[in-house]
Symmetry: C2
Subunit: 229 residues, 2 copies
């Protein structure tokens, strides 16, 4: 499968790129500037060595090429990115929005959030794409720093929100490729209204304890993944 990571030059996106490519996936980094995308893809190949398959290109081309598209960009630029790629994302394709509407988007603090008009950043994203794109929201509470530390096992669970159980399960299969990362079906896309804000709560916990890698594990079951599986 070809996986696109729009914003793959940023902390979260680069971490996700490394983890997925390390697990044997072909990752296409999307960037506003083709050359930057290519340079960062080269950096990823250098870190991973061997047969890692990472390419870089523009956001538009990356959105077209990937079978599944992650979007990991700051909220301030999120709408513009979606407008730029919207004609390049085919109907039925799965798009995974990873945005948290942190107040930093408007000069506020990273432990505060603003409320997107549509309820969540993911729903805003959905409103900007073809209605037949299959939107999923995930990865809000996963530290980009931890993702990039590729030898370090992850210590968090990914809350996955979306309407379509098949799409969530496909995203879940990719999450399962990352050691110790688990995925939890948190309900439909509107639940991103809550999941997205949990990033800010983790920032606040990090701030209280002067740490930088607080995360959440969901308790109540020994394993999660696809409900009913």
């Amino acid at each position: 499968m070809d996986i696109t990571v729009i914003g793959g030059t940023g902390e979260e996106g680069f971490g996700l790129t490394l983890r997925l490519a390390k697990a044997g996936q072909h990752v296409i980094i999307g960037s506003r500037y083709e050359e930057k995308g290519q340079t960062v893809a080269g950096k990823a190949r250098e870190i991973l060595g061997g047969s890692a398959e990472v390419d870089g290109t523009t956001n538009e081309k990356a959105a077209e090429q990937g079978d599944l598209v992650f979007v990991t960009v700051p909220y301030a630029g999120q709408a513009d990115i979606y407008r730029a790629i919207k004609d390049h994302v085919a109907e039925g394709k799965i798009v995974v929005d990873c945005t948290s509407p942190l107040a930093t988007a408007v000069g506020g603090r990273a432990w505060q959030v603003i409320r997107p008009w549509h309820g969540s950043a993911a729903e805003q994203a959905k409103s900007l794409l073809n209605p037949k794109v299959n939107m999923v929201a995930a990865f809000h509470t996963i530290s980009g720093e931890q993702l990039q530390d590729i030898e370090h096992p992850m210590e968090s669970d990914v809350m996955v929100c979306g309407k379509d159980p098949e799409a969530k399960a496909m995203v879940g299969e990719l999450i399962d490729l990352i050691p110790h990362l688990r995925w939890v079906d948190a309900g439909d896309l509107t639940m991103a209204r809550i999941a997205e804000t949990m990033t800010a709560l983790l920032v606040s916990v990090n701030r209280s304890y002067k740490i930088h890698d607080a995360g959440f594990r969901v308790t109540g079951r020994d394993s999660w993944g696809r409900p009913g599986a």
Copy 2:
């Protein structure tokens, strides 16, 4: 210490009462009706046996008697309860609000929330009491059912929000009395805007997996408690 649990006749409040009394604390259950408070206190003593100290009375008297006051009531009745007790809560007293603004308050679903005018149910509560009352928010994501199952070790962390580190640490000491429960300083009272909504996310997870005791553990440190301690 005398601990008041307003709403101690409900699921969450009764569970908290059992756990704190089991740990040797004197708990005063507050209820709208004195007799109901007394009956439920009797039920708690019966469950705990031995020397458990649980009394029941009206919300007003309970608010006056406790050195520390928990308020565990549904959001629909929260404002009325605070108005009823406000003249009975002395300046400087610690009040721990445990309310989540679930949409059930207005006939909606338990995996949805409504937004209190003040930002969070805890901030709304604060606005109704003497400004010198020391408000803390906690216990939103802790299952009342699990609390009541007193032989079962808890599998969740309590997010504690509030302005005053001393008040949070005092609440934390009580949380530490409950086996396997840990507390995490989540920042100031405004962080309750996020912590309160996480209850609804857990309801959604419970719904996805047809379970009833999903919870959160915070990862990133082996132990939490008072920051810097």
